[in-house]
Amino acid sequence: MGIERDGPPSPPRVTPGGFAFPGTTRSNHTGSWRLERPLYETSASPCHGACPAHEEIPVYLDHLAMDRPREAWESLVAANPIPAVTGRVCPHPCESSCHRGAFDAAVSIHSVERFLGDMALREGWSYPGFDGEKRDEAVAVVGAGPAGLSCAYHLRRFGYRVTLFDALPEAGGNCRVIPDYRLPGEVLSREVERVLAVGIDFRPGTKLGRDLSLEDLEEGFSAVFLAPGRQKNRSYSVDHALPGDLHHGLDLLWEWRNVGTLPRWERAIVVGGGNTAIDLARSLLRTGTREVHVVTDEELPGAPSQPGRGVMPAISREVGMALEEGVRIHPGRRIGRLILREERVVGVELVHALKEIEGQTPVHRAFEGTETVLEADAVIPAVGQEVDPAGIARLLRNRTVLPVLATGQVEGETRIFAGGDACPGGGIVSHAVGSGHHGARMIDALLRKKELSPKTPPTPIPYSSLNRVYFERRPAFALQEAPPEARDGFSEIETTGPLPLLRQEADRCFSCGHCLECDNCWTLCPDGAVLKTGGRSDLPVPYVFDYDYCKGCGLCARECPSGHIRMVPEP
């Protein structure tokens, strides 16, 4: 005997005229035909991959597009608690990576982020996600800049007790020196206050190395997150010469923030290509300095560049606006000599120069015989800051920045983590936010005695995986920008738009790798093998494949606009 069934099935009985009852092919499971099966698979969007704060951008864009601004904000603050700040000051690398940029124009993500941040402040929304498990462990966070705030915030969400120390009387870190025309102080204050209000024990005016030691923290807390930032001005001189009344750029900005005054010069030269230089240059123009020059050996953002050539790190939009406003930028130059009368600066000798990046270290080169003279009554270095070793010298071990592992732990330490500007890389607010978030997650893993497995950066879904035929070209939303001639004061240059416009902008999102819930798969399956789950709790939303009937034709995957469906061989 070969193969036999248990008992022969009784055959169906024939009907007059051969009629059949409706819908009975359901007993015919055509899924057995399948060689490949489709899977719903969320892939990383390029914007998410590019976002230093790890925001799930397509998710909150989707919420807003579907007219759920609060849900949008809530999913946004699941990664970044200060979107009104980052929405203004972040150079939004997300937009540079946006696939929509290759189609018509990148989605104006920062406009949406800022809009949601503002709306939350206006509406008084409070953060979601603080009603979970409460933990006994206490964690210390040093530095109430964006990294420290972010870390403290996420630790609170995980249920920890958090004490946040800062040397300054206010939280906010270097964000405080960003001029009001970019980031109104009130916006910053309100977001910072909201963060602190999640139950963080904030200790202002408490400086590590002066008011408490690392050992105190190690003893009093289960873990420590260090985010002291870079507060110490990098030393500057031109062949060891310095003007007598040397002002550092960042100090001037703090002076403006705290005292409300800035010196008025006839002609000031700001040295440096970063945001501090640009912020200061523009602030000086606004406060009465007649002429402001910026000298940098880097190239202007967006200028034709050779590989390895240094580009001004300042946000390109800001550089552009500075130029519009009358700041004179001298790229590819450096000051070769200060022209001093007594100790007073009367001018500088500029020389053609360039900055090349070879490996990790920049190389500055100047070219003799290209000197020109620029008269000036002030030279202000804004060439960056360094980490203040006070209290953390043990960890720095003669390095300029805190060495951290991928786990966020300081090299050689178990319970000490670090993030923000004090660590290598960084320099922008959203990066600080992201590092604080990362630190919080790693601390959580440590305290829960789980493996500290940092997320590997996701590979974003390629442009070719999208089915662009389902999208219509539409112009991108742009923030309203005051014309240069009207930018005399410190009121904000950019103003946002009404909800419907931002909603439309959010709707431009391709949702790369995410389900748009567009119904294409549900609509186009010839076999009716895609089912809507309709919010059922026992099933993933919004669709499932009914593999009883899916023949594996691949039509759904081919027609998915956002690359959310992948065909895989049948197991």
Binding site: P11, P12, V14, P16, G17, G18, F19, A20, F21, P22
Partner: protein, 402 residues
């Protein structure tokens, strides 16, 4: 009520009495007057039915298929080429077991073209799964038409009422038309158990695999057993209602004890009976009139043939290369029956050729001369291109060209 009516008009009136909701037809001689009559009844408001004047017989059959499947009593009529053009649909209607009534105004099938009467058209679709009832006169055609709706609806088999073209359709004679109330009492409102309806949706006309096809066909075949009983019962009921019957499946009369019989279908039987009554047959003869060709009443035939030595079967259609058609089936029914009569088969009256009352005696006389099993009885060999050795044989003698 008794009226002098042309056969076609009588059929139109009889159909109207059955209150069909849909009538679809394409004109073809000699069927035209039937549908024209119905059109006039509808135009005059005497019949509330949808008349669909289709673009072909094919569509006529298709329309009544759809209409009956959708729950309406439906009627069509045709003849000759029209029946053949319908044939694919005819198989379909019966296979779907949809009740429909069709009048076939029997006519020859071309080529060569003949608009006149014989039975080639209905015989061509004898295997299509339709009940076929042949009428001897117009009264019977009227009564059979009304009966046909009931038989069809009870058996879920379509019924073809066969009446000879011109000979009946165009002949005016007195007809007893039943009263509307009588027909209403006899024929309940149309009901089809598998009516297309979104309330109880069914799928009809499915693909049936070899695994089940035989059983499907068997079911259809068995339905004809039930149809035999239904035809008899319906005729009997009709008789109780109006006082006349149509002959059930097979009508036997004449000299019941005679050793010789003649079997015929359709209007030629009237002439035969007339000749018998007038004594023109010259001998005692048993007369058999086959009313139901499908279902084929084999048992009734065997009973009716008891005691016969010879049976002459008249065919009015031809299966070229074989012979008559009815006779084959009669022989088949008698096969193996002890003492079964010899069966002689003649084809007469093809393409409207007149069948005079004198011809029957010649046929009977020929039986005594050991006739061939099959012959063209009214063939005139003088008209053949190569008359051959029998060219001198007079018209009316048994002659087989084979």
């Amino acid at each position: 009520m008794r009226e002098a009516l042309e056969g076609s008009q009588a059929i139109a009136r009889a159909v109207a009495l059955c209150r069909p909701q849909v009538v679809a037809a394409y004109p073809i001689t000699p069927q035209t007057h039937i549908v024209e009559g119905l059109a006039r009844l509808i135009a005059d408001g005497l019949l509330a039915a949808e008349l669909v004047s289709v673009e072909s017989e094919f569509s006529a059959a298709s329309v009544v298929l759809g209409a009956a499947a959708a729950g309406s009593r439906s009627y069509t009529a045709s003849a000759s080429q029209g029946i053949l053009l319908m044939s694919e649909v005819l198989y379909n209607i019966s296979g779907l077991r949809i009740p429909v009534v069709l009048t076939c105004a029997n006519r020859a099938v071309s080529s060569p073209v003949s608009i006149w009467n014989d039975h080639q058209d209905s015989m061509a679709v004898r295997d299509s799964g339709w009940i076929q009832l042949y009428c001897a006169d117009n009264q019977e055609a009227v009564d059979t038409t009304i009966q046909a709706f009931r038989i069809s609806e009870r058996t879920e088999l379509p019924v073809m009422v066969c009446m000879d073209g011109f000979t009946l359709t165009h002949t005016l004679e007195p007809i007893d038309l039943p009263e509307a109330a009588q027909v209403d009492a006899f024929l309940p409102p149309f009901h089809f158990s598998r009516t297309l309806s979104s309330v109880a949706p069914l799928s009809q006309g499915t693909l049936v695999s070899p695994e089940f096809f035989t059983e499907m066909r068997y079911l259809q075949h068995r339905a004809f057993d039930a149809a035999e009983r239904e035809i008899l019962e319906t005729d009997r009921d009709w008789g109780h209602l109006v006082g006349r019957e149509c002959g059930g499946l097979l009508h036997v009369e004449g000299d019941r004890e005679a050793p010789v019989g003649i079997l015929a279908m359709g209007s030629v039987y009237g002439t035969l009976k007339d000749a018998h009554q007038a004594g023109l047959l010259g001998r005692h003869v048993r007369l058999l009139r086959l009313r139901s060709f499908r279902p084929f009443p084999a048992e009734a035939i065997r009973r009716a043939c008891t005691g016969l030595a010879d049976l002459l079967v008249l065919d009015r259609a031809l299966s070229p290369g074989s012979g008559g058609i009815v006779a084959h089936e009669i022989r088949s029914a008698l096969y193996g029956v002890p003492g079964a009569p010899r069966v002689a088969n003649v084809v007469v009256g093809l393409g409207g050729r007149n069948v005079p009352d004198g011809i029957f005696r010649e046929m009977l006389d020929s039986l005594e001369k050991n006739p061939p099993a099959f012959s063209f009885f009214d063939l005139d060999p003088r008209k053949l291109p190569d008359p051959g050795p029998d060219a001198s044989a007079p018209s009316g003698s048994l002659f087989s060209p084979r």
